[in-house]
């Protein structure tokens, strides 16, 4: 009996393959978006974790000597005194694709590294024989890298063999310090020491063993907080996409139920017990969910793999966090994705199952009584919505990133829930004012359709509002950022000499040839107890005229040379400092703050002071960097001459334009993911409208047929259908506009400040709104085209079915 019943149930899909495709595709899309975001998050988190585990730089203090490298004897003396320090030597290896950072560590004193296995080398490097200590510690040594880098370095006769090692931070090469000093030709030098534990109480002070050394706490905890917020954003997007996807499934499963109403009834009438039928329908739902879930996971994997390089680039650009660019299947998101598909399908199908229970054995006739019930539901939803939005706005008063995100969630959900009530109000008003009976009917009919369409419209509202909000944020950011870049990168050329001596020679050579030379030196120190960098610059009009200051005292530039500082906005906001305050420096020193400048794209605290003042404090700072002011037309010639006269590495001279292009590229990539998810979400929302309209279709005919009979042609009705869908989409878009702007404000003024440390002015882009409105209407039209065409091609006989004596 079950078999027969199941065949009867499933035969529906054979007759309606389109519906099957829609259902599977809808669920698959939702799962795909969700799992793609989860996959990206999982990959990034794993990268952070492995980087932290490998290098342990996350929480460990770093000892450096600003005046120069640490010597081997000094390192040994520290060790003999009981200091638990381990050395790092850093440099770059040139490859055809650009330089790659090389990190040399003492494998013997390094506090934690999994033993590299040579069995998974796919880089075609060393043969698969067991790795011996001699391989790692004596010449030629081994390089350890993630598979992508390993492949890049394979078959390089000038380099040691490369071993793939998952625990190496992405984008880096790790090796023993003996190998590193050979490759970098820096015998006996150490760049920094990592302190891996407490110093014994009786040990002599650091500076007595290592004169001029400073110890700084690295910024990793902050980075993790920042990246967390980035991932929270992504997760929120994933949830949104999934919610929108749910609307699709809900629509289609509702449709399938409607269309099989007669089959259900017949099966029941023929004696199939209700529990059996329920189980069969449930089994069908689960099977479809699993199928769609698998498809969605495949799609999600593809999507994540496509997006990951950009996510990786933006995380690196924004936060300096290294994320692997190759995607791995991880249980967390694979099972999560499947679970979401199942939960989604069951949630969406729940209504159908409930209706199945209350389905009368005999056909119901008489007027539909659902309209008043639907009105009640809409009222209830709006009350809930208003409460949610209010709660969200209240959350704002608590401050902090979480409050900002809570406000956004509350506002978006609240607005979505209130939308049907709002639309009903508007449509009723319009219908009341309508003159012609047809328009009266059209508007009131739109309002009557709201209960069935509300989920799809809510999805559209969310997608549109997010789109407006995110676009406004990104565009505001872009506008501010490009303007800022133009000001900030005022010098035409930026040059880094090989050594201090060479820098002096270059300066002497340049002086008669250029408009100005702007030398600068920097040192990494604690600023207001955060790890940061302080720059020393000379006094020049270039800075006075161009440097973008958010706030400044009367004559900030004059005061710099006497020890006052400018600080970046990140530092100002995180340490709650502003002009007039003093900046706490190490060794209980401090400096008056005379200005705050915006410093986008830099996760760290930064300050600027006068060069002469800085070099008095830190006499041995390397001075190899300078900006060069020169007429643009002379740049190629000067660059050529510089390279000819001095032995300069390829990347020693950077054109300001290239730097700007690079910065903008990082910027664009940062928001590419957001943009992609944005468009996808909008697409899914359009899909939701389509499925809702299709679901409503069977209920729609009894409403259209009488109007047709009363003398409105099918063509006219078809147009009206199209118009109705567009009208609803347009109204939703109108409602989405203020919501989207509110979202943009929350993103710019609350979330950005908390997550990135900078606040951006909000710019409005009405043309974008018009475009989006057009897009929304287009989505509405596209969704209605199918039903409208169906109506247009419908035979009168089919319409007349409505008037036959029973349905």
């Amino acid at each position: 009996m079950r078999r027969t019943a199941l065949i009867a149930l499933l035969s529906h899909w054979r007759h309606r393959p389109g519906q099957l495709v829609t259902l599977v595709l809808g669920l698959a899309l939702a799962t795909a978006l969700w799992s793609a975001v989860q996959a990206i998050n999982a990959e990034a988190r794993n990268s952070y974790a492995s980087a932290a585990a490998t290098l342990q730089s996350a929480a460990q203090p770093v000892i450096t000597r600003p005046s120069g490298p640490i010597l081997l004897e000094e390192y040994a003396a520290l060790r003999r005194a009981g200091y638990p320090v381990t050395p790092r030597l850093q440099g770059r290896i040139q490859t055809p694709d650009g330089p790659l950072p090389l990190l040399g560590i003492d494998l013997l004193s390094w506090p934690g590294l999994a033993a590299p296995a040579n069995d998974d080398t796919d880089a075609g490097s060393a043969a698969s024989q067991p790795l011996t200590p001699a391989d790692l510690l004596t010449a030629p040594g081994r390089l350890l890298a993630q598979p992508d880098i390993a492949r890049q370095l394979a078959n390089r006769s000038d380099l040691p063999p490369v071993i793939t090692h998952q625990a190496v931070p992405p984008g880096r090469i790790l090796t023993d310090i003996a190998t590193a000093e050979r490759l970098l030709n820096r015998q006996g030098e150490i760049d920094q020491l990592l302190r891996t534990g407490p110093v014994p109480a009786n040990a002599p002070p650091l500076t007595s063993l290592l004169p001029g050394a400073t110890e700084t706490q690295p910024d990793s905890p902050d980075t993790s907080r920042l990246t967390d917020s980035f991932h929270l954003n992504l997760t929120a997007f994933g949830m949104l996409a999934f919610a929108v996807g749910l609307f699709v499934i809900h629509g289609v499963s509702g449709l399938a139920f409607e269309e099989r109403r007669a089959t259900f009834r017949t099966l029941r009438a023929l004696g199939l017990p209700l529990p059996v039928l329920t189980r069969l329908v449930l089994a069908e739902l689960v099977a479809l969910a699993l199928l769609s879930g698998l498809l969605g996971l495949a799609l999600g994997y593809g999507l994540a793999a496509a997006l990951l390089p950009d996510v990786s680039a933006s995380l690196r650009g924004l936060y300096g966090a290294q994320v692997d660019t190759t995607l791995q299947l991880r249980g967390s998101w694979v099972f999560g994705g499947m679970a979401m598909a199942l939960i989604g399908a069951l949630t969406a199908g729940a209504q159908g199952l409930i209706r199945l229970r209350s389905l009368p054995l005999l056909a119901a006739t008489g007027p539909d009584r659902w309209a008043s019930a639907a009105a009640r539901q809409i009222r209830l939803m709006s009350v809930l919505g208003i409460a949610l939005a209010a709660a969200g706005l209240t959350a704002l008063s608590f401050g902090g990133l979480l409050a900002g995100l809570a406000a956004i969630a509350g506002l978006l959900l609240g607005a979505a829930l209130t939308l049907p009530a709002l639309l009903r109000l508007i449509l009723t008003r319009i219908a009341q004012r309508a003159r012609s009976p047809l328009s009266q009917w059209v508007w009131s009919d739109m309002s009557a359709q709201l209960p069935g369409l509300s989920l799809a419209l809510m999805a559209l509202l969310l997608a549109l509002a997010t789109n407006i909000g995110v676009t406004t944020m990104v565009s505001s950011f872009r506008l501010t950022f490009t303007g800022w870049l133009d000001q900030r990168l005022a010098a035409e050329l930026y040059l880094t000499a090989r050594s201090d001596r060479q820098a002096q020679e270059i300066t002497a050579w340049l002086s008669p040839r250029v408009d100005a030379i702007l030398p600068r030196r920097s040192v990494d120190i604690q600023l207001a107890n955060q790890p940061g960098r302080i720059y020393g610059i000379t006094d020049h009009a270039t800075y006075r005229d161009n440097w973008p200051l958010l706030a400044a005292t009367a004559s900030p530039w004059d005061q710099l040379q006497t020890g006052a500082v400018l600080i970046n906005e990140q530092l100002a906001r995180s340490a709650n400092l502003w002009i007039g305050d003093t900046l706490p420096l190490p060794n209980s020193q401090s400096a008056p703050i005379v200005g705050v400048y915006s410093d986008y794209g830099n996760p760290r605290a930064q300050a600027i002071t006068g060069l002469s003042h800085l070099t008095r404090q830190f006499p041995n700072l390397p001075g190899q960097q300078m900006g060069i002011r020169i007429d643009r037309s002379q740049i190629p010639q000067l660059t050529r001459q510089l390279r000819q006269t001095f032995d300069l590495p390829a990347d020693a001279i950077i054109d300001q334009r290239r730097l700007k292009a690079l910065s903008l590229e990082i910027f664009e990539r940062t928001f590419l993911v957001t943009g992609a998810l944005n468009v996808l979400t909008l697409g899914v929302a359009g899909f939701a409208i389509l499925t809702s309209l299709l679901t409503l279709w069977s209920a729609r005919l009894p409403q259209l047929a009488p109007v047709w009979a009363l003398g409105i042609s099918r063509r006219q009705l078809a147009w009206l259908e199209l118009l109705r869908s567009c009208g609803l989409a347009a109204l939703t878009a109108l409602a989405a506009l203020p919501l989207g702007l509110a979202l943009a404000w929350l993103l710019l003024a609350v979330v950005n400040v908390e997550a990135f440390g900078w606040r951006l002015p909000m710019h409005l882009f009405p043309l974008d709104w018009l475009g989006l409105m057009g897009l929304a209407i287009l989505a509405g039209a596209l969704a209605a085209i199918l039903p409208a065409r169906k109506l247009l091609r419908m035979s009168p006989a089919a319409l007349l079915q409505v008037f036959s004596h029973d349905r």
Binding site: G82, L108, L113, T132, L136, Q187
Partner: protein, 372 residues
């Protein structure tokens, strides 16, 4: 994390632990024919019969040999009669027979420090590269060190040992009241029937005073140093030939009897049978080498620690000996671990801890068991 670290350490410490994990490096050394040539295939020197030790120079490192160690064990007692044991070992292992200055140095140093009571056993481990000043041994004045752990003094008879591990510490003064003792044939000790040898001598006559610091009880005040006294046994051994390829581990004893006699004994366990060897040391420091087969060592009771079963009670039998004018009494003793849980959870884990001796002789000593 600890697991990862351990894995890496294990890899890097591998050559050091060669005596403990013979198969690792056995292959290049298996060819017996090289023994007579003085160096092996990789260019390392090989112990030669008839070698004349040169002191104090030979107390320092021999970088042209593959492996070497400075191995101190001591049985100590506090004023309340509580027994303690300490172990302090510096291993050297060469990846190549050179000793240049700087990071390119192929000498690897490893240290193990342990402190054992009846109920506690604490272990620490350090690794360092040679040639950079982080670890090494100099002969005159004597100094063996790795980081801030060191054993040093004007000569080998007068030493100070200082070790500050994460959760325990000791600071001990060692005073030798007897001569150095040479094992095997004038310090050339045979390790297998097929002829693997090492240079091996000891200073088993240290009188020790000093303090031990145990980890504080959870939530209690930091523990105060405990004054202790006792005897120490210092072993020096170097070679390029570790165990034979079929040998899986060893059981090694250093015992000090109430009579003033001392006994070094070891059993190398092999697929084709055990190889035993030992040295009887009279109170005056005269030695009697005990060739393979003389000693009878029988496990009496096993104990499970760290998931492995080890014999922590032994019966040692040695018939009365009469060689070259020296005679020893018949010996039949039971050797019992003071703390059966003296498991050294280091890169290459092994068992090492203090023991008590009862039976025909009374006394104390140390037991080391590897390869279980």
């Amino acid at each position: 994390m600890t697991v990862n670290r351990r894995k890496m350490l294990r890899l890097l410490a591998a050559p050091l632990a060669a005596p403990l994990a013979a198969p690792f490096l056995a292959s290049p050394l298996r060819a017996q024919g090289f023994a007579g040539l003085g160096t092996d295939a990789a260019g390392f020197d090989i112990p030669q019969p008839g070698y004349r030790f040169d002191f104090p120079t030979d107390h320092a490192a021999h970088p042209t040999f593959r492996i070497e160690w400075w191995y101190l064990t001591a049985n100590l007692r506090d004023a309340q009669g509580q027994d303690y044991g300490i172990q302090w070992t510096l291993f050297r292992s060469a990846l190549a027979p050179q000793d240049p200055e700087g990071w390119q140095n192929p000498q690897i140093w490893m240290a193990h420090a342990a402190l054992t009571t009846q109920t506690q056993h604490h272990v620490a481990e350090k690794l360092a590269r040679g040639g950079i000043g982080q670890a090494g041994v100099t002969a005159s004045p004597f100094r063996a060190w790795i980081d801030d752990w060191h054993m040093s003094g004007p000569d080998l008879d007068r030493l100070h040992l200082s070790t500050q591990a994460e959760n325990f510490a000791y600071s001990l003064t060692l005073q030798a009241d007897g001569p150095l003792v040479f094992h095997g044939t004038n310090g050339l000790s045979t390790k297998s029937a097929s002829g693997q040898t090492s240079y091996y001598y000891s200073q088993p006559h240290y009188q020790i005073t000093g303090t031990l610091t145990l980890p504080p009880e959870p939530g209690a005040e930091p523990a105060l140093p405990i004054p202790v006294t006792g005897q120490g046994w210092f072993d020096r051994e170097w070679s390029s030939q570790p165990l034979a390829s079929d040998q899986s581990g060893w059981d090694w004893f250093s015992l000090s009897f109430a009579s003033g006699d001392r006994l070094m004994a070891f059993r190398l366990r092999g697929d084709t049978g055990d190889f035993t060897s030992g040295t009887w040391i009279t109170p005056q420091g005269h030695t009697l080498a005990l060739p393979n087969g003389q000693l009878q060592l029988d496990p009496q009771d096993t104990h499970t620690v760290a998931g492995r079963r080890l014999p922590t009670r032994w019966r040692l039998r040695l018939p009365a000996q009469q060689i070259e004018g020296l005679s020893t009494p018949a010996t039949d003793v039971t050797i019992q671990a003071i703390n059966p849980n003296s498991w050294m959870e280091v890169s290459f884990p092994y068992w090492e801890g203090p023991v008590t001796v009862t039976g025909s002789h009374q006394g104390r000593g140390y037991l080391e068991m590897t390869g279980y």
